[in-house]
C-alpha cells in the first residue's frame, strides 16, 4: 500500500465513528447508511490529494460528510460494500438501542441544516467551528441553536 493510501486509511479509521453517526442520522435504514458511508469515503478520497490543511482534518471531514448526506439524492449503487457492524441502530431493542433510537427520532424530525447543527453541538464542537463548517457567523449559530432547542421542546410537548 502506498504512503498516501495508508495515511487515508488511518484518517478514515480515526474518524469512522463520526462519519457513521452522520450517515445514521441522515438515513432511514442500514443499507442507506452503508451507501452514504461509501459515498463519503469516495468524496474524501477524491479530495484527499488536494487537501492542504487550511482547515483542520476534522472540519474537512465534517464538511464532506454533511455535504454528501444533504446533497446526495437517493440512489442505489451497483455494489455496496457492507460495513463491519454487528448492530442495527434502526431495529435494536435492548436498553442502549432504545436510547439511541429515541435520539435518532428526535434529530430526524428536524430539517437537514438543523440536524447538522445539533449533531455538531452534541459532538461538542465550538460555535466557531460549527459556523466555519456551515459558512455562517457565530451569532447565527447561536440563534439557530436557540430555535432548535425550542423546536425540540415543542416536539416533546406534542408527544
Amino acid at each position: 500500500m502506498e504512503e498516501k493510501e495508508k495515511e487515508f486509511a488511518q484518517i478514515v479509521r480515526e474518524h469512522k465513528r463520526r462519519i457513521y453517526t452522520v450517515c445514521y442520522m441522515f438515513s432511514k435504514d442500514a443499507d442507506e447508511v452503508a451507501d452514504l458511508f461509501q459515498e463519503i469515503l469516495i468524496n474524501m478520497w477524491k479530495g484527499f490529494s488536494s487537501f492542504r490543511s487550511e482547515s483542520s482534518i476534522s472540519t474537512w471531514i465534517w464538511r464532506i460528510s454533511l455535504n454528501t448526506c444533504i446533497n446526495t439524492g437517493k440512489r442505489r449503487k451497483l455494489e455496496t460494500i457492507p460495513l463491519d457492524v454487528n448492530i442495527n441502530p434502526y431495529e435494536d431493542v435492548d436498553e442502549e438501542g432504545l436510547q439511541v433510537r429515541q435520539l435518532y427520532d428526535r434529530i430526524n424530525r428536524l430539517g437537514l441544516i438543523d440536524r447538522s447543527i445539533i449533531l455538531m453541538w452534541l459532538e461538542n464542537l465550538s460555535y466557531e467551528e460549527i459556523g466555519e463548517i456551515l459558512g455562517i457567523s457565530v451569532k447565527n449559530v447561536s440563534v439557530k441553536l436557540v430555535r432548535i432547542r425550542e423546536k425540540l421542546r415543542q416536539m416533546s410537548k406534542s408527544n
Binding site: 487515508f8 464538511r63 460495513l83 454487528n86 436510547q99 460555535y127 459558512g135
Partner: protein, 195 residues
C-alpha cells in the same frame, strides 16, 4: 463548556446522555473494512455516475439510424428525426457543461450552506431544462405528426394507423407524466430552499 454555551433544557440534557451512549456503542464497532478502503481508492463505483450521465446519450445516438429508417419507410419528415435527436443530445451536453460549472461544489469540500445552495440551483436548472425539452419535444412531435398525417392512406393499412396514434398518445402521456413529476420535485426543492 465555554465555547458550546447553549442553555440546556431537559430535552437537550437527555439528548447529551443518549449521544454519549450512542458514541460508546458505535465506537465498539469496526465499521471500516480493508475491502471498503480498497474499493474506495479504486473509485470503481464511479461507473454508475458515467452510466447515469452518458447512458441516455448513448441510447439516443444508437437509435438515430433507426429513426431515420422509420422516417423514410413511413414517410415522416426527416427533420422530425433530426429534432428528436437534438432534443435528446442537447440536454445531456448542457448537463455536462453545468456539472463542469459546479465542479467545485460537487467536490463537497466547501461550506455546507453554500454547497447546498449550489447543488439545489443545479438541480433546479436541470429540471427546468427537462421541462423545456419535454415541451419542445411534444411540439415537434405534434407538428411532425400533423405534417405526416395527410400522406397516410387509412385504407392502406389501418393497423399501422392505430399503432401510430397509440404511439403518439403514449409519447404525449409519458412527457406529461414526466413534466408533472418534475414540477412536483421543483416545488419541493423551492420549499426546501425557502426553509
Amino acid at each position: 463548556m465555554e465555547d458550546n454555551r447553549l442553555e440546556m433544557n431537559c430535552e437537550l440534557e437527555e439528548m447529551r446522555q443518549q449521544f454519549a451512549i450512542m458514541k460508546e456503542r458505535f465506537d465498539r464497532q469496526e465499521i471500516v473494512t480493508d475491502r471498503l478502503l480498497r474499493e474506495t481508492q479504486k473509485k470503481r463505483i464511479n461507473v454508475f455516475d458515467w452510466l447515469n450521465l452518458y447512458g441516455p446519450m448513448a441510447v439516443i445516438v444508437m437509435m438515430t439510424p433507426l429513426l431515420f429508417l422509420c422516417c423514410q419507410h413511413y414517410g415522416l419528415p426527416v427533420w422530425v428525426a433530426v429534432m428528436a435527436f437534438l432534443m435528446g443530445v442537447l440536454p445531456v451536453i448542457w448537463q455536462y457543461c453545468e456539472r463542469l460549472k459546479y465542479r467545485e461544489a460537487f467536490r463537497f469540500e466547501g461550506d455546507v450552506l453554500q454547497i447546498a445552495g449550489c447543488v439545489r440551483n443545479f438541480r433546479r436548472r436541470s429540471l427546468k431544462m427537462t421541462i423545456v425539452t419535454g415541451l419542445v419535444s411534444v411540439l415537434v412531435l405534434s407538428v411532425g405528426y400533423a405534417a405526416w398525417l395527410p400522406n397516410v392512406q387509412l385504407t392502406d393499412d389501418p393497423f399501422r394507423w392505430i399503432l401510430f396514434i397509440l404511439l403518439f398518445l403514449g409519447v404525449i402521456a409519458a412527457v406529461v407524466a414526466v413534466e408533472i413529476k418534475s414540477l412536483r420535485i421543483l416545488d419541493s426543492i423551492v420549499k426546501d430552499l425557502e426553509q
